[in-house]
C-alpha cells in the first residue's frame, strides 16, 4: 500500500516568507509526527498528533512554527517569517498507535531552503 507522502519534495523560499509543508500519512494511522533534520544530524522531534489534537508540541522551536491536522489525517506544518536557520529536511511519520510499540513510518521529507 501507499506509504507516507510529503509535498513538496523541495521548497526554496526567501527569508521572511511563509511556507506550508504537507504530510499525507498512511491511511488508518492515528498518530502523526513531524521532525526536522539538519545535515549530518539525527531527526529532531517537533510535534506529535494523536488524531486531530497535538498530544505533544514540546519540540516546536518557537511560535513561528505551527502544525494542524484538522480531520485526523493530512497534516500541514506552517512556518511564518522563515529564517535561514530553518533550512533543513522536514520529515513526517505516522504510526498506528499500539501500547508498547512505536514503529513509525517515515515519508521522504521536504527539503526546505531559506535564502
Amino acid at each position: 500500500g501507499a506509504g507516507v507522502s510529503q509535498t513538496p519534495s523541495n521548497k526554496v523560499t526567501e527569508k521572511g516568507k511563509y511556507v506550508e509543508l504537507r504530510c499525507d500519512p498512511i491511511s488508518g494511522h492515528t498518530a502523526l509526527y513531524w521532525y526536522r533534520q539538519s545535515l549530518g544530524q539525527g531527526p529532531e522531534f517537533l510535534i506529535y498528533f494523536q488524531g486531530t489534537g497535538a498530544a505533544d508540541d514540546s519540540g516546536l522551536p518557537n511560535d513561528r512554527f505551527f502544525a494542524v491536522r484538522p480531520e485526523g489525517s493530512v497534516s500541514t506544518l506552517k512556518i511564518q517569517r522563515t529564517e535561514r536557520g530553518d533550512s533543513a529536511v522536514y520529515l513526517c511519520a505516522s504510526s498506528f498507535y499500539l501500547a508498547g510499540s512505536n514503529e513509525q513510518f517515515f515519508g521522504p521529507g521536504t527539503r526546505l531552503t531559506v535564502l
Binding site: 511519520a93 512505536n102 521529507g109
Partner: protein
C-alpha cells in the same frame, strides 16, 4: 528522558556480522529500545524494538542485558546495501514525546 550514546561510525566488510552497541545508563522501567536505519535522502526506517533479553526478526537481532543499560543491534552478514546511519532510541512507548529523541546515530560503512 534517557540519553543514548553510540559510536559515531563503524566500518565493516561484506558478509561480516556487525554489532552496534548503544549505551543508555539512565533507562527507565517503562522505556523500550528501538533502532532505526536511515539511507541518504530518505526518512528513517524501523528495524527492531525490544524491552529485555533478545529480539530477532528477519533483518536483525537486538540483545539487551539484564540491567538494560545498553543494547546491541546485530546485523548478520552485511552487504553493501546496509551502508546507512543507525539510530538507537530509548523511551516510554506509552508517552510518545519521550520516544522521539534521535541522537547522532552510527554511520556504518560496508566495504566490498
Amino acid at each position: 528522558l534517557a540519553k543514548t550514546t553510540q559510536p559515531i561510525s563503524m566500518d565493516s566488510y561484506e558478509g561480516q556480522e556487525v554489532n552496534i552497541t548503544c549505551s543508555h545508563n539512565n533507562i527507565a522501567t517503562n522505556d523500550y529500545i528501538t533502532w532505526y536505519q536511515q539511507f541518504p535522502s530518505q526518512g528513517p526506517r524501523f528495524i527492531i524494538q525490544g524491552y529485555k533479553t533478545k529480539v530477532t526478526n528477519e533483518v536483525a537481532s537486538l540483545f539487551i542485558p539484564a540491567d538494560r543499560k545498553s543494547s546491541t543491534l546485530s546485523l548478520p552478514r552485511v552487504s553493501l546495501s546496509d551502508t546507512a546511519v543507525y539510530y538507537c532510541l530509548v523511551g516510554d512507548a506509552f508517552g510518545a514525546g519521550n520516544m522521539l529523541t534521535f541522537g547522532g546515530g552510527t554511520r556504518l560503512m560496508v566495504k566490498p
